[in-house]
């Protein structure tokens, strides 16, 4: 392994600009003549708009334009779309209501977009927005996930019972039969709490219109600028693709929330032409809470059947998923194909049946958030496994070992064909790291100090890459989920790689360059990674689903293969040898059995000067592109163990130690991969202990700032012990499985399993805040007293 090649902990190339304050985020972009947009949002969860009077506001100082849904409709600007079609059990398509970028006659959640004011300054835009008179007729609101279906209030006429779809997966008859034969059935009711992604950079957009060329440019906080361009062009109708450039510069975290195409960027780019000025909008934090797509929000009943020996026979799940007031871009895929196919976990479960009812409510749209469906599935499976082990009187580690899948490939009853894995190896390593043998003594020590100590396991699996395209297409995806790359070699041998992946914290500028440096044998500083601009990168699908390594880097790998193949042809001419006799290794083209060689940089120069070959026989230049479509999903898996201590007097939970052992396949940069694991665990711990988006019964979001919504801070978390096992992924050339979501998927059940172990009962929901834990601990104490 070279110091900068695959497997090396190379320090990040992108860091210099970030640590010196030179990063360039969307809000840092300022265009000449730029105006500011401010969105007037609905204060009501559900209301008819009888009228909007903008006359007084339009006369306020600095106002350049005020627009409503009627203006968008007049310009034939289409509504926002949901790009994944789900079919009901009876085969009929899901019932999707219209989703205008600015409200047309009705608002459906607090924060819904009523009008936009464009003014010289933000203060002027805000002042003018206050002068807009909207006559609302309030309607009753539907807020609770479990009560939405069939509620009297109908949110969209298209979905008369507030149900978007009733969907199912698996074999109901086989599952029912297995349950009848079971000796033990574990039943659990679970709520997967609603979360707000809260990337530290709020969403922002700058729309610009070049009247001379007729070209729109949109700078936006996007994880996938090409998908944004596709949707804005083909569905919303801003402009044809060749007249619309989308740039996602440095993006300050996404976690899913910046995949989607929102109202604000749509309106900003459209309004730039209307007012003839660039238009900027940046969310403040409360706007982000109100209008970013939220995550999770499932209500689930699940049952697990085992035989007399504890062998799992079947799993049955019913979930109600809240999709909010409108269908966000990929919302329908999250509680369906990103959820139920993961319900087999790491276990050999012969029969599984899952039903999902997706509902509309008068709350912000819900869509993919780090893990997207897979954390929800893992929470169901790992809570059931832990509780079943307890009810059967089995050690939770041994119960898992007993039921792990051991032969690969393994076809689950819910679509997925797992390719590789060694779940027992991860468990063994995690047990060593956490010192499982010593847990009894540590529990006694805690008890002596008046504390309750618990240990909780989570054996998670995820499906990453979200491809092959043909597979996701057959499941309802509106797009193909391949990735593209172009490797441009310059005449002196430096390289630019254009990728359709997008980095918003993942360190692609480093890891992708490591791959190129490794394969072409050139210094890493000679490699630049270019992403996030539709004028530079021809097409790409962006970054989510832990797909940039497995899919994005595989595309680069394929393009490099082509560069090397072309280089061999050039070298054959220069070295006057047969092409079949040319080898390439360590940055040199050599002729087999001779000492003749041509280094990569000289080969590039020869390719461009084209003096040594006939341009009719071999094209000059050295630039190759590739599209890569995987042959399967990838299946990262691992074991996380959380050990914690509860103070029953205060309800405060202190995580004492954390062991994480993950199998991500081949790792390009262990430093970056471990960082991804740390961050994922922190988000999962946040879900388990601290975070919860709460609407009151009127549909007001009462957790709409960092003062009301508890973000994990440094003193809420421990340091983490991270280990790895490796089974290379067979479905891509690099053997990568993906690592971005693992921590967030694994950690919530590990925490709750540890808390319930400490408490001695299962009666606690997420977030297990000090108040909730204190109440639950009092129940433990009174039970102990009764015994």
């Amino acid at each position: 392994m070279s110091a900068t090649g695959i497997g090396a902990a190379v320090r990040r190339k992108e860091d210099h600009r970030f640590i010196t304050g030179q990063g360039r985020y969307t809000d840092d972009v300022n265009r000449p003549g730029q105006a500011q947009a401010y969105f007037l949002r609905s204060p009501h969860a559900h209301a008819k708009i009888k009228s909007i009077d903008t006359k007084a506001a339009a006369a306020m100082p600095g106002v350049l334009g005020i627009f409503t849904g009627a203006d968008l409709a007049a310009d034939k600007i289409g509504g926002l779309i949901c790009g994944w079609m789900i079919h009901n059990k009876d085969g009929s398509p899901m019932r999707a209501g219209a989703h205008p970028a600015l409200a047309q006659g009705r608002v459906r959640y607090v924060g819904d977009h009523v009008a936009v004011v464009v003014a010289e300054t933000l203060a002027q835009a805000k002042d003018a927005a206050e002068a807009i008179v909207v006559d609302y007729q309030e309607l009753s609101a539907v807020v609770e996930t479990a009560k939405a279906a069939g509620a009297k209030t109908v949110i969209h006429d298209e979905a008369p019972d507030n149900t978007v779809f009733n969907w199912h997966l698996g074999d109901k008859d086989a599952t029912d039969k297995a349950f009848k034969a079971a000796k033990h059935v574990t039943k659990l009711d679970l709520v997967n709490n609603r979360l707000v992604p809260n990337a530290m950079e709020p969403r922002a957009a700058v729309g610009d219109y070049d009247a001379g060329e007729g070209i729109f440019t949109l700078y936006t906080t996007s994880q996938n600028p090409h998908v944004a361009r596709l949707v804005l062009s083909a569905f919303i109708g801003i402009a044809p693709e060749n007249k619309l450039r989308v740039i996602a510069p440095d993006v300050g975290g996404g976690f899913g929330s910046k995949i989607f195409i929102y109202a604000e960027e749509t309106v900003c780019v459209w309004a730039a032409k209307k007012v003839g000025r660039p238009v900027k909008w940046t969310a403040d934090r409360t706007e982000a809470f109100l209008s970013d797509a939220h995550g999770r929000d499932h209500v689930t009943h699940a049952e697990l059947a085992t035989d007399a020996d504890g062998k799992i026979l079947a799993l049955k799940v019913h979930t109600t998923a809240n999709l909010g007031a409108y269908l966000s871009t990929f919302s329908s895929s999250v509680p369906t194909y990103l959820y139920a196919p993961l319900l087999s976990g790491q276990y050999d479960i012969p029969a599984i049946y899952c039903e999902v009812d997706a509902v509309y409510t008068n709350t912000a749209p819900v869509d993919a958030y780090r893990g997207a469906g897979r954390p929800e599935a893992t929470f169901v499976v790992e809570r059931l496994i832990e509780v079943t082990a307890r009810q059967l009187g089995k050690d939770p580690a041994k119960f898992r070992l007993q039921n792990y899948i051991r032969k690969f490939p393994h076809q689950t009853p819910v679509i997925m064909a797992y390719d590789t894995g060694n779940y027992a190896a991860s468990l063994k390593k995690a047990l060593e790291i956490i010192d499982y043998k010593g847990i009894g003594k540590r529990k006694r020590d805690s008890a002596r100090a008046g504390k309750l100590r618990g240990i909780g396991f989570s054996s998670y699996i995820e499906a990453c890459g979200i491809a092959p395209s043909a597979a996701v297409g057959s499941l309802g995806a509106g797009v193909g989920l391949w990735e593209s790359a172009e490797v441009r070699v310059n005449p002196i041998g430096t390289v630019e790689v254009l990728t359709g992946s997008h980095s918003h914290g993942q360190g692609h500028e480093t890891t992708f360059a490591q791959l190129v440096s490794d394969r072409l044998g050139i210094p890493i500083d000679n490699v630049s990674i270019i992403h996030g601009d539709t004028d530079k990168v021809q097409m790409g699908m962006g970054t989510y689903g832990s797909r940039s390594g497995a899919v994005g880097m595989s595309a680069i790998y394929k393009a490099i293969d082509k560069v090397i193949a072309k280089g061999k042809k050039v070298a054959a001419y220069v070295l006057e040898a047969d092409e079949a006799d040319i080898d390439f290794a360590d940055g040199n083209f050599t002729v087999k059995g001779t000492d003749r060689k041509l280094d990569f940089g000289s080969c590039a120069l020869q390719a461009y000067v084209a003096h040594k070959f006939n341009g009719q026989e071999l094209e000059p230049g050295l630039k190759e592109g590739a599209f890569y479509d995987p042959t399967n999903f990838t299946f990262p898996a691992g074991v996380h163990i959380c050990e914690l201590e509860i103070d029953p007097q205060t309800g405060v939970t202190k995580i004492d130690r954390w062991a994480a052992v993950d199998d991500f396949g081949v790792v390009i940069n262990p430093m970056i991969v471990e960082g991804q694991v740390h961050g994922g665990i922190a988000q999962g711990v946040g879900q388990a202990l601290l975070e919860g988006a709460r609407y009151n019964s009127d549909g007001q979001l009462v957790t709409a700032s960092f003062m009301d919504y508890t973000m994990p801070r440094a003193d809420d978390l421990p340091s983490f012990d991270v280990g790895m096992t490796v089974t290379p992924c067979p479905s891509n050339p690099l053997g990568i499985k993906g690592c971005g979501e693992a921590g967030a998927i694994a950690s919530p059940p590990a925490v709750i399993n540890a808390i319930t172990d400490a408490l001695g009962h299962e009666d606690i929901a997420m977030p297990a805040t000090p108040q909730a834990v204190w109440r639950a601990a009092q129940k433990s104490i009174s039970r102990l007293a009764a015994e």
């Binding site: 640590i19 203060a123 530290m200 440095d250 973000m711 801070r713």
Partner: protein, 166 residues
């Protein structure tokens, strides 16, 4: 409009501003020093943290006119003569950042922590003192390591924080 005069990263600046202009707006919009970020507008996340007369202050809830005459240091003013401050180096070396958005505030907060608490910082102290800065990417693990290492490096290099920062 009101006139405000400040020293920012060692340079005297003076401007005529709307009295309601926040310090972070003044830095970002008037001076185009966009390294100082706005993450929450309520003093919770610390992305906007700068040093005012050597002390850490959140610029998103500070009126520019209220610091008239003060010396401000932002992330852009931390490196001296093209040489990174030891705390900046430590964040890179220990992978203390991912998306980079909270990073300027984190680094300015860390330097202030060393100012107040010295060069030997244990994990507990760092975690408790970092309560005013939120990061969504790193889980804080590597930020804590970076701050401990940066504090030590500042001691070894004989960089007093005020020399480096002001």
């Amino acid at each position: 409009m009101t006139t405000v005069s400040l020293t920012v990263n060692g340079k005297a600046v003076s401007a005529n501003i709307d009295p309601r202009t926040l310090l972070v707006q003044f830095l970002r919009e008037n001076l185009r020093l966009t390294g100082t970020h706005v993450g929450c507008d309520t003093s919770q996340c610390g992305a906007c943290l700068v040093h005012i007369d050597g002390k850490a202050v959140k610029a998103c809830t500070t009126l520019a006119v209220s610091v008239d005459g003060a010396a401000i240091t932002t992330i852009e003013g931390l490196a001296q003569d093209g040489k990174l401050h030891p705390m900046q180096e430590a964040f890179r070396e220990h992978h203390g950042l991912q998306c980079g958005f909270c990073t300027p505030g984190m680094i300015m907060s860390a330097v202030d922590m060393v100012n107040r608490r010295g060069h030997e910082l244990d994990e507990k102290t760092i975690r408790e003192d970092l309560d005013g800065n939120i990061c969504r990417c790193t889980g804080y693990h590597n930020i804590v390591k970076a701050i401990a290492a940066g504090a030590e490096a500042m001691g070894k290099a004989g960089v007093t924080t005020r020399q480096a920062a002001e």
